[in-house]
């Protein structure tokens, strides 16, 4: 069953169209990335899914239940780590986590062990009595994630979870997200860090101007929409390339042959075999890895941070 189903989701804000019919399906246990520049509609999509924003039209379901009519069920399945930090002037971190568990129907006595475990796992144990304003930016981000996990949701939504954190913490969080994924959580990640999506996600959808422009596994997308380069250096010139490499796009520069391919992993062994069987002596091979950024660029005509 799909953990999240979004169909033809539409939303306008006083005349400005934010979503123009978004369709997304996320399988249970999947690590799904929603990629797009600022203002593309990522946060609006999430906010509609979680009940913070009203949709104009379309369907949003969590494990097959409508997020509006069955909100009590669907919201219990979802934990949200929002992009914006929450502030609180009155209560310490452990109390805020217990409140958060309470909103989801978990009594303090039942939530206390999980709160302890999360404070420990996210390195916040020593700050348990601190107020949010006393935390560093990285700690605030970790607290935001602890809050999303306190009711042990099946689905975790991470809205730009590594925005503004240093490289060390970013890698630490990536490891943590992978662990959660391995524990069976379905994760919906929005990001505009290409590396993050490539490294973590099973599947990504690229959203631009309120519409999903493509989706698939990072590998598929890179293979489908972008070209990669394979450069083969021969130890000596070889005549008759045209007759053996007619199925490939390449440029021949004497002992250097450069191939453009959408499926470098599939094509490389074939090219090597053809050349070897034809008697060419391969000295070395170089590949230029394409990335989701190229895919994004090709599809939208602009960089992801624009």
């Amino acid at each position: 069953m799909d953990a999240i189903t979004i169909k033809d989701l539409r939303k306008s804000y006083s005349g400005t169209v934010a979503l123009k019919g978004v369709d997304i399906s996320i399988r249970e246990g999947e690590f799904f990335g929603l990629l797009g520049p600022n203002g593309a509609g990522k946060t609006t999509t999430i906010n509609i899914l979680t009940g913070l924003v009203r949709k104009d039209a379309g369907e949003t379901k969590v494990f097959g239940s409508d997020t509006v009519t069955d909100f009590r069920f669907t919201r219990r399945q979802v934990g949200i780590s929002a992009q914006e930090f929450t502030q609180d002037w009155f209560f310490p971190l452990d109390k805020l986590l217990l409140f958060q568990a309470g909103y989801y129907g978990i009594k303090s006595a039942d939530a206390i062990d999980r709160v302890e475990a999360l404070l420990d796992r996210l390195g916040l144990k020593e700050k348990r009595n601190a107020r949010i304003r006393q935390l560093s930016g990285g700690m605030k981000r970790r607290f935001q994630i602890a809050k999303a996990l306190v009711h042990d949701p099946k689905i975790l939504i991470l809205d730009e979870p590594t925005a503004g954190v240093d490289v060390e913490l970013r890698h630490e969080l990536w490891r943590f997200f992978s662990e959660l994924h391995n524990e069976g959580k379905t994760i919906l990640l929005t990001t505009h860090y290409i590396e993050e999506a490539e490294m973590l996600c099973d599947k990504v959808a690229i959203i631009d101007s309120g519409k999903v422009v493509t989706e698939g596994s990072p590998k598929e997308l890179i293979g489908k929409d972008a070209t990669s380069g394979i450069t083969i250096f021969l130890s000596e010139s070889f005549q008759g390339l045209e007759s053996i490499l007619h199925d490939y796009m390449y440029t021949d520069d004497d002992k250097r042959i450069h191939f453009s391919t959408k499926d470098p992993e599939g094509d490389m062994p074939k090219i090597i075999r053809i050349l070897s069987e034809s008697g060419a002596h391969i000295q070395r091979i170089e590949t230029d890895k394409s990335s989701l950024e190229d895919v994004f660029l090709n599809l939208t005509g602009k960089g992801i941070n624009k």
Binding site: G51, T86, D88, W89, F90, F99, Y103, Y104, G105
Partner: protein
């Protein structure tokens, strides 16, 4: 009904004002003690009794009511606005809580603060002002209903405000004048006829006189009207604030 969620949010709302009791409970007590001392020791000698009641005692029910209703209003309004401005509201709106549960938790928070403040000032009146309460049960019940009504008004103000300035404007230009013109310090019989008529349209006039009746046994208005108007306000503003929460105006996008 998400009882645990509802209880948690209610507990949070009540705990919030208790955690800053110096700001939420003490000021009303200090100002009431000052009123009693200043009027008791100085002005009372120069002001005639009203309906046979010494002036300090006459104003005490009004002070109790003003404290109860301003505390009730400011608790729910400031908590709602604060949650909006500090980005805490999504935590509650994205949780499995209904608009009814969320609204009632805020209203109970303000109602508890209003009732506690009202009762504490009543105790101060008894201890320092020498006040005797004719009907303690009715008095507490009336403070409770009015606190509920004004807490729901406060929630509505908090929901509709987008800044502290807007909220302060509504409180300073509507609530405070209506409180003072509701007859805390005077009987409307002392006013010219047109002002008496105008007072009839001020709901706080009925609140103050209702409490004056349960405490002192005197009232400018029919006590039944006071009870009915307080109950009606409670009903109307509770429903209105739940509807606004449901509708999401200025809360959800």
């Amino acid at each position: 009904m998400n009882w645990v969620g509802f209880k948690t949010l209610t507990f949070r709302e009540v705990g919030r004002f208790f955690s800053v009791w110096r700001q939420t409970i003490v000021p009303g007590l200090i100002s009431s003690i000052l009123y009693i001392l200043i009027f008791g020791f100085t002005l009372e000698k120069r002001i005639d009794n009203i309906d046979g009641i010494p002036y300090t005692l006459f104003i005490l029910p009004g002070l109790i009511m003003m404290n109860a209703l301003t505390n009730a209003t400011s608790n729910s309004s400031s908590s709602m606005l604060q949650m909006k401005l500090l980005g805490q509201l999504p935590d509650i709106l994205q949780a499995p809580l209904s608009s009814f549960e969320i609204s009632m938790a805020y209203i109970i928070g303000g109602m508890v603060r209003g009732t506690i403040n009202g009762i504490l000032i009543m105790v101060v009146g008894i201890l320092i002002g020498g006040m005797t309460v004719e009907n303690p049960f009715q008095t507490i019940a009336f403070i409770f209903i009015v606190s509920w009504a004004f807490s729901s008004i406060g929630l509505l103000l908090g929901q509709l405000s987008e800044s502290w300035d807007q909220l302060a404007t509504m409180q300073n230009f509507i609530l405070t004048p209506l409180s003072f013109l509701g007859g805390i310090f005077y009987s409307i019989k002392m006013l010219p006829e047109w002002a008496q008529l105008l007072s009839m349209f001020n709901p706080i006039y009925y609140m103050i006189n209702g409490l004056r009746y349960t405490i002192l046994g005197i009232s400018d208005s029919d006590p039944l009207y006071s009870f009915l108007i307080a109950s009606l306000m409670t009903l109307i503003f509770t429903i209105a604030s739940i509807k606004v929460m449901e509708n999401g105006k200025k809360i959800k996008q």
